[in-house]
Symmetry: C2
């Protein structure tokens, strides 16, 4: 499925380039990430290693799916954007991964999510206290690491971007939780929440490597804007996949976000539309919101399919696909006004292509 | 009660000076702390205001006990130690308070503590998710604030001290949790845990103001050492009060730490001693450790009193009082080798006196 295919030309060559890019970033980042996590006091090191998929619940080494690695890839490209070697971006890549995983550990506990990447979440395996504690430790470690990168001025600039992104990430989670209890959420509110929850850390990833590589604020800010809108494009695609994604690709249940009554972009855009489909959808979802979790879990496939059909009929699917494309255009457009090595510009564009055409 | 009265001379004059010092630090720090907390996205601002005792559970303004304010007082004195105005230390004082309160929010939830300073804890009132989230937000805010203080080099130096202290604080909590599940803990392990959990943040408070005031690393390190050992003295006194403190002063139950089966300094020192009392104590506590929480809560006063008597007979109380005095001496001694304004040196000593003679 291509929810928002942005450009018809050469998808396979671009996809191949991105695969190589993500592999390179894993190869450069993972050893540094493992070394950082190895510094945690026991048993936090073990709990963190489980979370990252390096060991199973019994402590045996595994090769679990460790995620797409888009953030570290961005941080390394960001260093290259400043004319530095990719390696210069590694502390930024590691710090951003640590912050991202801090938020996953805490969000899974707050949201009561029992599974992540086909495995039991940390709080299910090691208990809530360890999920809180190890999340805290990863967040603290991120700050320590970035402050040890480069000279004082560089470290302060990089750390400021990381700290601001972290706070936005937390604001986004607060908004996400608050929206669950509200009947209506506007499209603007949803975009603000997604900008905080997804955009801020991608903006940080896309700019922090450049800061470490000695870029001026103008280049770093352009990369930040690219990353922020890439994050919003990523999230719009995620919201499409959360409803219409193929369970075989996503690893989630069918109609996943509808089962969680998530007020994602397609839902809020559909509810904001005029016409009978929007009206019927709003009436259904308002009634759904009053149901208990148990009642809701008894719904059959046809009931979710009906809601998805109404969202599509009201234009929520198309609006979100268009929004992904708009955010993609803004992201790539932000790079138009700055000097970049040609190969880096190509790779940043290829990564943006990958983000909007992915199927998981 | 004076668990470890360090010096006989002029307790009342010194106590008066400390009261003024703590009042000054509250007056300087609280507005900045309130402004910082006010920047949090709703409803986190409200939850944090409840935690700090500025509003009650229904949102009405209150004047609850907001704690001793030793940490902010240290941060302001620290700036004066570098020859700067106390105000220069305010961002450090606020950042340290934010980190301290982040850890309280998370620790109360991890430990299942329902009361703090005679009020329901945040997770009891606002739920576990808000306790996690607001803790995260305060921690993130601390980093942002300190990175905005002073020029790049100053901000980086101050932020590094805060980040290192935060990670030690989290390590200490990890050790504290791990000790609960162990039959024996050595005195050294207990001191390491307390050094992390209490010493590190007091060390940071005592040095961060000086860094903001432009001190060289030698002075900042001496103040750090002072703060670390002051923290260990503080904790030794806390451990004495946790068993023998007067409930009317501490606001806790009698034998509070024994009720929680805490392996505090008097307990581990007594268990490490030779002789029949140590043997009987160890046998009792080993049996206690196997009991359920419910069985244990049915204990009557006499059973806790018997354990406290054995700890005292085995020398755990005296050893801890001596240890408080040793840590006090090391703290004050760390300042001997550095140049300080005379008034600041007096105040740092008075604060150390206050910490070891307090009764709550």
């Amino acid at each position: 499925m291509n929810p928002a295919a942005p450009r018809p030309a050469e998808p396979s060559a671009s996809a191949q380039a991105v695969t190589e890019l993500l592999e390179r970033s894993r190869a450069l980042t993972t050893p540094a990430l493992r070394a950082a996590v190895g510094r945690l006091a026991p048993p936090m090191d073990t709990v963190a290693a489980y979370h990252f998929g390096w060991i199973d619940a019994d402590g045996r080494p595994t090769e679990a799916d460790s995620g797409k690695a888009v953030r570290p890839a961005l941080a390394l490209l960001s260093a290259e954007a400043a004319g530095a070697a990719a390696e210069v971006g590694v502390p930024g890549a590691v710090a951003v991964e640590l912050v991202h995983n801090f938020s996953l550990l805490h969000d899974d506990l707050m949201d009561g999510d029992e599974q992540r990447r086909h495995r039991d979440t940390v709080w299910k395996v090691h208990g809530p206290a360890q999920a809180i504690l190890v999340g805290d430790a990863l967040f603290a470690l991120a700050g320590e690491l970035i402050l040890a990168a480069g000279d004082d001025a560089t470290a302060a600039r990089a750390a400021r971007r990381l700290a601001a992104a972290s706070r936005q990430l937390i604001d986004g989670q607060a908004q996400d939780i608050a929206f669950e209890h509200r009947e209506r959420v506007s499209v603007d509110e949803c975009l603000t929440m997604e900008g905080n929850k997804t955009g801020a850390l991608l903006a940080c990833a896309a700019s922090i490597g450049a800061v470490l590589g000695g870029a001026d604020e103008r280049l770093a800010d352009a990369l930040d804007t690219y990353g922020r809108h890439l994050g919003l494009a990523f999230q719009a695609v995620d919201d499409l996949l959360g409803i219409w994604g193929d369970p075989r690709s996503t690893g989630k249940l069918t109609w996943s976000d509808l089962r969680q009554r998530k007020k994602s972009l397609p839902v809020v855009a559909a509810m904001a539309a005029d016409g009978p489909a929007a009206g019927r959808l709003t009436a259904l979802l308002t009634a759904d919101a009053k149901k208990s979790r148990e009642e809701f879990e008894d719904f059959d496939e046809a009931e979710f399919a009906a809601r998805a059909a109404l969202i599509e009929e009201a234009g929520g699917r198309q609006w979100t696909a268009d929004e992904a494309r708009r955010q993609y255009d803004t992201a790539v457009g932000a790079l138009a006004g700055v000097e970049l090595p040609a190969a880096t510009r190509e790779r940043l564009t290829a990564l943006a292509d990958f983000v909007v055409v992915r199927s998981k």
